[in-house]
């Protein structure tokens, strides 16, 4: 049988990454803008002011334009688990399928039912029923985020399952461990809060655009006030959960942390790299005479503190992770990658023996070997330790972009709240806020680059590498669909941006006197 073509793995990854990145252009705005418009409609229902109704309706219009694209890209993403990652779908489908089905039953129907009432029901249901529909739309979207992030968190830190050699797959044994894994909780809070930040940046950016053009000033000030408060709270939550997420990565995905920090040689009392330039072309899987950095600035002890909660804690670097021999938090000593791969191969061979065994004794012996080595099962599919090293530059720079922009957004919202109405005269700040809009997208994309590139080569951490997770297709088929999706998504993105631009230019109807 021909071995797997590695270019098929690369193209399958590229297609999934393309779809996920396009999808993530739209989802955060849905989550963030959704809450803001719901707050505005709540103000309308509480105060009875038509101004708030028109304000909410304007943001709803932009929400709808964006929502459609999120739906369009989302359906492809869900089905790509089957079309391009079919082996994954069997190997862990027993666990991974459940969150997707629950997402459909609990969240998608809520979203799709109430969004229709939200858009078409202004004159058909009562004010309160309409407000409830708006909130239920965004609650549905947020519940949807919960379940898909549960699924993603499980891939980063698989829990609550056991391998069944008879069915040759992993099976769920503890639903609560999967659904309420601490990694999932942190991931959800971090991702949703950062989406709220993104929605807030969008609202303050568009509002500042109106101030620059001296249009819709009351609307702009009111929107800035709501969004800046909401954004400030969201940015604080994002920062806090980001820190917790860092701790999770240190515990469960140390290679990702090493890549994000550009840490080749680990040790105790490690500093956090605040900024720097990696040496272009550096080989991160092998030692070298030269430093892996051209230059960098560190905050002493900060990485040890982040990873271990102790200033002198030990943080392994890429070399340590490949060579092993360093102390683990439980007191044992880390194995070298070669040994993990050998154990993985033993586990896979034991599975083959188990499947072929004719008598119970041989089955039992194979099963014992399989269980003893199962923790390293996924390593058995790898050919070299170097495959365990993710793309360091992408992860390193992605991490810095995300963190620095996160800090900037925090200051931005605080500044806007301090300025209040005085922003009217601050043209430079208004321009800065407008130009911040694309930075919010850059930050969220960078965050996902860190999360997903940093965990390579794993589809499921330690259990299943990408090479063993794919569908057996011709490379040409995946290349063709990659370019079809690329052209289609790009075309639709251009259309969306154009429609969004026109809708913003047209502005809200708040200045028109209404009854």
């Amino acid at each position: 049988m021909d071995p797997i073509d590695t270019s098929l793995v690369d193209w399958s990854r590229a297609q999934f990454a393309l779809t996920a990145m396009y999808h993530w252009l739209f989802v955060p705005l849905t989550l963030g803008l959704g809450v803001i418009m719901a707050i505005m409609e709540t103000l309308y229902v509480r105060t009875g002011r038509e101004f708030w109704k028109q304000t909410a309706r304007f943001w709803m219009k932009l929400f709808g334009i964006n929502f459609a694209m999120g739906v369009a890209t989302g359906i492809i993403l869900e089905f790509e688990f089957g079309t391009n990652w079919s082996n994954y779908s069997w190997f862990v489908g027993d666990i991974f399928g459940a969150p997707l089905a629950i997402e459909g039953i609990l969240a998608f129907f809520m979203e799709s039912t109430f969004i229709a009432v939200m858009y078409f029901g202004w004159n058909k249901v009562s004010k309160r029923a309409h407000l409830a529909s708006t909130w239920l739309t965004i609650i549905g979207a947020t519940i949807s985020a919960w379940w898909i992030l549960v699924a993603n968190a499980w891939m980063q830190h698989p829990v609550g399952m056991e391998f069944n050699p008879d069915t040759v797959r992993n099976e769920m044994v503890d639903f609560a461990a999967v659904a309420f894994s601490p990694v999932a909780v942190v991931k959800f809070c971090h991702t949703v809060a950062s989406s709220w930040v993104q929605g807030s940046v969008f609202v303050v950016g568009v509002s500042c655009w109106y101030l620059l053009r001296r249009q819709h000033r009351e609307f702009a000030h009111a929107s800035i006030k709501v969004a800046a408060w909401f954004g400030l709270v969201a940015a604080l939550i994002t920062a806090h959960t980001g820190h917790q997420s860092g701790r999770d990565i240190a515990l469960y995905q140390p290679m990702k942390l090493a890549a994000a920090e550009g840490l080749y040689e680990g040790g105790t009392s490690q500093g956090l790299v605040l900024g720097g330039l990696l040496r272009p072309g550096a080989d991160w899987a092998s030692p070298s005479e030269e430093s892996k950095f051209l230059f960098h600035v560190e905050c002493p002890y900060a990485l040890s503190l982040l990873a271990t909660h102790k200033p002198d804690g030990y943080v392994p670097g890429i070399r340590n992770l490949l060579e092993g021999g360093y102390p683990l938090p439980d007191g044992s000593t880390a194995l070298p990658a070669e040994e993990k791969m050998a154990r993985g191969r033993r586990a896979i061979a034991a599975l083959a023996e188990y499947r072929k065994a004719k008598d119970e004794a041989a089955k039992a012996a194979a099963l014992t070997t399989l269980r003893e080595n199962f923790d390293y099962f996924g390593y058995g599919y790898l050919n070299s330790p170097a495959e365990l090293v993710p793309n360091v530059p992408l992860t390193f720079y992605g991490f810095r972009i995300m963190v620095m922009l996160g800090g900037y957004f925090l200051l931005l919202f605080a500044g806007l709240l301090v300025l209040g109405q005085r922003i009217e005269k601050q043209k430079l700040i208004q321009w800065a806020v407008v130009l911040t809009i694309p930075l919010a997208w850059l930050a969220s994309q960078a965050g996902w680059v860190v999360a997903e590139v940093g965990r390579q080569p794993w589809a499921i951490q330690g259990l299943l590498p990408n090479v063993a997770a794919i569908s057996r297709l011709e490379v040409g088929s995946v290349q063709t669909t990659f370019f079809i999706f690329l052209v289609l998504f790009t075309l639709l993105l251009v259309a969306e941006l154009s429609i969004m631009g026109k809708a913003i230019a047209a502005g809200p109807e708040t200045d028109t006197p209404t009854a």
Partner: protein, 377 residues
């Protein structure tokens, strides 16, 4: 019937019910395929799109949930079919992507491609969506060309457990007349349901007249294609499964035997067909509520057909390349633990249905008028 077998049957029922609801809700697609046929003026076309535009997300969500529920309950199908019949599923997805943006973008300023292009997209989705889904579901009865070998996981160089034998990756299903008959039947049914839905939800008399006129022709063609498919299906051999050994073998008139063995399913089919016929007849005579019996009938018919595909020791996804690779609800399901957990979640479905009914009634209480098309949102 032991615990896991009971849950496998329960989940096959739920997946079949979702599939049946999807076929009913594809009246949205049927409506899209008739935009230019029924809508003679721009105002009429807007009314048609407003009527389906309030419901498209429900259809879309049902499709996504159908996929998710299949993944959770029968992951081997998800893995084998989606990863193998690649081109069929990609085409289905692409035409649904086009739908997702077209309703929102078609009348917006700055939509780059122009209103007509988005409406063409909607028509494409309206024709290809039901046709492809119907053709793909046809393979539940006629089989597909795949091989499953779970032992492959223990082969480090090629650990993929299933692969497609035909290089067309699913498109070959369109060359099987029985599959195509089902695909065309589903398309025509969605158009029948669309006409009935418009009669119920649109208040404009000239447009309603167009719908009634069109309904007759669509009903005629639908009955011709569907009854041909149904007769061939009843007489066709099916893929049976020996419950003890799991051995798959070909059985003559398997689906007819399934109906005889499961009289309740046969009753569903008969009642469903009668309701569809009643709804059509009512619609042709100008009755506004024909969509309800015809819709309920469609759900019952599709439910009965899908139950025949999976229940009574039947291989619901037969393999033509390797008979013993065929998928049954027993060999392709999730574990007992997962099925049981998902069953608790499924108890929420009545609440979901309740709020969908509330929203539907709230929005469709009064028929759509030409004035409403100018309100926007």
């Amino acid at each position: 019937m032991n615990d896991i077998s009971l849950l496998q049957h329960y989940w096959w029922f739920l997946v079949s019910l979702l599939g049946a609801l999807l076929v009913f809700l594809m009246f949205v697609q049927g409506g899209q395929s008739l935009i230019w046929t029924l809508g003679r003026t721009e105002e009429q076309r807007r009314m048609l799109l407003l009527a389906t535009g309030r419901k498209w997300e429900l259809t879309f969500t049902t499709l996504v949930t159908f996929g998710g529920a299949f993944f959770a309950s029968f992951p081997l199908f998800y893995s084998t079919s989606f990863g193998g019949a690649y081109w069929v599923w990609v085409l289905i997805l692409l035409c649904f992507v086009l739908q997702a943006v077209s309703y929102e973008f078609q009348l917006r300023n700055g939509n780059v491609l122009g209103t007509t292009t988005y409406r063409m997209f909607l028509m494409l989705n309206g024709i290809l969506g039901p046709l492809l889904i119907g053709t793909a579901v046809g393979t539940f009865f006629t089989g597909a060309e795949f091989v499953v070998d779970k032992a492959a996981v223990a082969s480090p160089s090629m650990p993929v457990i299933s692969h497609w034998v035909n290089p067309l990756h699913g498109l070959e299903a369109a060359f099987v007349p029985q599959n195509l008959l089902l695909g065309i039947s589903v398309l025509l049914l969605t158009r029948v349901l669309a006409c009935l839905y418009f009669l119920n939800s649109i208040g404009d008399e000239p447009l309603r007249r167009n719908c009634r006129r069109r309904l007759g022709m669509e009903c005629g063609f639908f009955l011709l294609f569907f009854l041909t498919w149904l007769l061939r299906w009843l007489c066709s051999a099916g893929f049976a499964c020996e419950p003890e050994s799991g051995l798959i073998y070909l059985e003559t008139c398997k689906y007819l035997h399934n109906l005889q063995t499961m009289p309740a399913v046969m009753a569903l089919l008969v009642v469903g067909v009668l309701l569809v016929l009643g709804g059509m007849a009512g619609g042709l005579r100008g009755w506004r509520r024909g969509i309800w019996p015809a819709g309920a009938g469609s759900v019952l018919v599709v439910l009965a057909l899908l139950l025949c595909a999976g229940w009574n020791n039947t291989a619901y996804y037969p393999s033509l390349a390797s008979l013993q690779s065929s998928l049954t609800i027993a060999n392709s399901s999730s574990s007992l633990f997962t099925l049981r957990t998902m069953t608790y979640v499924s108890f929420i479905i009545p609440f979901v249905l309740a709020y969908i009914v509330w929203a539907w009634r709230a929005l469709d209480r009064t028929p759509i008028t030409p004035e409403e098309t100018n309100e926007g949102h």
